[in-house]
Symmetry: C2
Subunit: 237 residues, 2 copies
């Protein structure tokens, strides 16, 4: 579902009290810069399932995810899909060198982004090396995650993939909402399958197996980690 999103009236939205202020790209900006920066972005909302941008689209904007979860994916011509990542609040999307996006991005549930037009954003960076350094830092971190994911896709069994996914997803949620054994899974089984290079049936079966072994409890919208140690042992790394 292609969506252009809904721009929110800017009343009352200031970078200085933005929820992702401290861990997004903008954490590198001082208060004065932040006031200038404020005029570059506009808040836009997307509803569940809407596509924020598509692979091969000419890049006209960058996005800072403020609220919600997004799936980032690539499609093969015959429809096979590989999800290359899930984005959480604070993630910065859209950087590329070809001038075109190299993956598509959909909202999973309602999403709010801070959208920056490419050119003014590029100009703003120009003489702010600390912002560039911050962007570089995020790119390098993503690269490291991408390599970990290659190991998972190329060399791990279905059981290991699922276990590693649960732990890694929980870990990422920690920085958002603190530690908890309840792990919300807003994405569908199909999304998880396409992320792990499996089929939906294998994902379902593996969850059931983990539940039968008492390692997790499948609840609506997520799972409970009953035995984190056992899941860690399964993830084996």
């Amino acid at each position: 579902m292609k969506g252009s999103g809904v721009t929110i009236e800017p009343n009352g939205h200031f970078c200085s009290d933005c929820a992702v202020r401290d861990f997004a790209v903008c954490s590198s900006l001082d208060p004065a810069e932040l006031r200038e920066f404020e005029h570059l972005g506009r808040r836009v909302q997307f509803s569940s399932g809407e596509t924020v941008f598509s692979e091969e689209d000419i890049t006209t904007s960058f996005y800072n995810l403020l609220e919600g979860v997004m799936r980032l994916y690539k499609l093969l011509p015959d429809g096979r899909r590989q999800i290359v990542g899930f984005a959480l609040p604070g993630d910065f999307l859209g950087m590329n060198i070809s001038g075109r996006h190299n993956f598509s991005a959909d909202a999973i549930g309602a999403v709010t982004v801070c959208q920056f037009a490419k050119l003014p954003f590029g100009r703003f960076i120009e003489d702010r090396p600390h912002l560039l350094r911050r962007i570089n830092e995020l790119a390098i971190r993503e690269l490291s995650q991408a390599r970990d994911h290659m190991v998972l896709l190329g060399r791990r069994s279905a059981d290991e993939k699922i276990a590693a996914f649960l732990l890694c997803w929980r870990e990422r949620l920690v920085s958002q909402k603190g530690v908890s054994d309840m792990v919300p899974l807003p994405m569908s089984r199909q999304d998880i399958a396409d992320y792990l290079g499996l089929t939906i049936e294998t994902v379902s079966r593996t969850f059931t197996k983990l539940e039968r072994h008492g390692a997790i409890d499948i609840v609506h919208g997520g799972i409970n980690l009953l035995d984190p140690a056992r899941v860690e042992a399964l993830a084996a790394a």
Copy 2:
């Protein structure tokens, strides 16, 4: 094989006539900067199979590959290996945010690198945003390649993996030594298998199958692309 490499006497080595001058990180530097930069790096040689740096090692240096090919890989505790990339001359290695390398790097055949101590290099970048921009550009390009590779690992068949690998490898060699239907493969079958998430037997069988179909010709140290169109069709993307 862990190796510390052999430093080459600096006589007669100048950045200005470096082979990778135009496409490595240093392409962003002007002649004056280049002269200063020259003192930061030292040329080091590694012989076939030597390890230049290992995953989890504390990062003390960055590397600019000048000559040869390297395999970049991660190991699971039980020895399973995933090659996350092959490095060619001009590639810049070692960036990370944790202070530790996040993959290992071996020489495939003899290799020459330009090695930079981390701290002086970091200081040199400090007030040279154009160099930082160049590094960022390289990171973003690698990220895009990493995502393509995830699709390959997660969603493609063995035949497609091999075909895509041959075409992609040939494409990369174009910028090094021009177009040719002779594709040198300096890495072993095991390396190819670990890059594609397959076993050595499947790689061997798939090569043989391609040869029987007249698409390629297996020669010592590489293959001849007899029917590029057919291989492209197999790669299906």
